[in-house]
């Protein structure tokens, strides 16, 4: 059955319920946004294991950390801006420094949040989460991958950050595709350049590949669902095979996926890199489609970056 475009937050919410049925140790804290994060699906099924702590993000994280010490897998949930920014010190000290079994899962990443505008559009979470020791960072590309990622992080001890989307994203992956933390998936093979993308930008990358194919350019498309630990082998292999890399993320260019990829290439296999992402600015109100276009996050922007990076190969 063909699935229609679905927000990745739905995949998270549904899988959390499925996990809750088989694992009595799953608990959830929320900053009164469970309707938006889809943690409310879990609340309805397991009210005794769900804690709406009100609009107190620091407490949402700290309480989850305390719960985790009693053998629970604690999911701390809210919008990405509120937990990663406002409760940063709790994520750093309680969760990461103490290496607690807490999964910080946030919806509302990126400009595709839409009409709410800049204050709710998190564009710095990859950067500030990946710099924390012990933290692993995931951004699924579609609903199916969000379900798999939820399952895997629940079953892997330690701190995780996962960003989900509010906007519906097209279905790109299959149920039978492997999802391994730190192991990127190749969605399309090509030899002229590689696009390494995550989240909403994976669909844009595939669309860019289609456009370039018509011009005789064969693009390799990599879904880098794990931003930390980054898949060093995949990055180096792609650089060797195609000689040029474009990164694409719905996040600041500074400090995010592009930076993580560039760190690897600078150390192991320097090659031309172009980065598609938000260029050191805040978002604004608009529809997701308008905002992706305005901030240079569309397939056409990837096409331009690919042509540029290929020119730089010589």
């Amino acid at each position: 059955m063909e699935l229609k475009p679905t927000p990745t937050r739905d995949g998270f919410g549904e899988e959390l319920v499925a996990l809750g049925k088989i694992n009595p140790n799953i608990v959830v804290t929320s900053g009164d946004l469970e309707d938006a994060t889809r943690a409310e699906y879990f609340k309805k099924e397991f009210p005794d294991r769900f804690f709406n702590l009100g609009i107190t993000e620091q407490d949402v994280v700290g309480t989850a950390a305390g719960l985790s010490t009693q053998g629970y897998v604690a999911f701390a949930t809210s919008f990405a801006v509120f937990l990663t920014n406002r409760a940063y010190d709790m994520i750093r000290l309680d969760v990461c420094y103490n290496n607690c079994n807490v999964k910080v899962v946030c919806s509302h990443g990126g400009v595709t949040v839409g009409e709410d505008g800049a204050s709710a559009q998190c564009l710095e979470d990859f950067a500030i989460m990946r710099v924390l020791p012990n933290m692993k960072v995931i951004c699924p590309a579609d609903y199916i991958e969000a379900k798999k990622a939820t399952r895997v992080i629940a079953n892997t001890f330690g701190p995780f950050y996962m960003r989900t989307s509010r906007a519906p994203l097209p279905i790109l992956t299959q149920e039978e595709d492997a999802f391994v933390i730190g192991r990127a998936n190749v969605l399309r093979d090509g030899h002229d350049a590689t696009v390494i993308a995550c989240g909403v930008m994976v669909a844009e990358a595939l669309s860019a590949a289609d456009k370039l194919k018509a011009e005789g350019i064969n693009l390799k498309v990599v879904n880098m669902h794990t931003i930390k630990p980054i898949d060093v082998d995949m990055i180096v292999k792609s650089a060797k095979e195609t000689g040029a890399i474009v990164t694409a993320e719905e996040h600041q260019i500074i400090g995010g996926l592009g930076s993580a990829v560039a760190e690897v290439l600078a150390q192991y296999y320097p090659c031309p890199v172009e980065m598609v992402g938000v260029k050191d600015s805040f978002g604004e109100s608009g529809t997701p489609a308008q905002l992706l276009a305005h901030y240079g996050l569309k397939d056409v922007d990837i096409v331009v970056a690919v042509k540029k990076v290929i020119q730089r190969k010589k």
Binding site: G54, G62, S68, G71, A74, L93
Partner: protein, 273 residues
Amino acid sequence: MSSKTIDIESLKKQAVVFRRDILETLEAAGSGHPGGSLSAVEIFLTLYGYQLKLKPNDPRWEDRDRVIVSKGHVSPVVYTTLANFGYFPKEELKTFRKFGSRLQGHVHTKVPGVELNTGSLGHGLSFANGIALGARMRGKDFRVYCIMGDGELQEGSVWEAAMTAAHFKLDHVCAIVDYNKVQENGPTNEIKNLEPLTQKWAAFGWQVLDIDGHNIEALKLAFDEFNNTKGKPTVIIANTVKGKGVSFMEGKSAWHGKAPNKEQLAQALAELK
């Protein structure tokens, strides 16, 4: 494990030993926090010597009471307490703050008996609440203690957690405020006034016990009251003196975060007999 009897005279003598250990540990380290360590001596002594259900030879025993030291800079009194109660050799106190030592500058779970790495203020109470919620779901009857400084109460996160403990009726949570009235740069209530402090906690839905935090009998009675209270969390406002026991440190913000030198140590030890 507490036998629920208390020998107040013996604990008073031990308080002197603790203060001497704290100051010797700080002098050897060359840095650290004496003021809030000395003010909290009787709090720790009465907790460990009377109130807590613990097995020092099995620090991860799952039914132990949990002590969260939210004011993580008072590591000297925490490590002194744990060493004196047999969690690790007292000899190790000499390694405090030294490279390679598990006795980190701020309390760390590498040290047996420490439940949470802290150091940034305003973290402990949320964590304590999380433990308490988990214990309730597991059907465990241990209690959770959170030791905070008064300056720490300026952190908004403390009050987020205070609301949570009351809302969820966490009557197995006991917060202890070491109200020594002095923080890093001066008197707490001149920097940002906490008063009326007992009314604040009461308004947040807590049972408030306002006592002399250097009086072991008063601390014992407060813990007894906490043990018998149902339906709401308890906060013990322990009124103390910063730098207690050392004349030149008492009430002085300058001794919040500075170790005594050899001469100052000798002078302090001469007062602690």
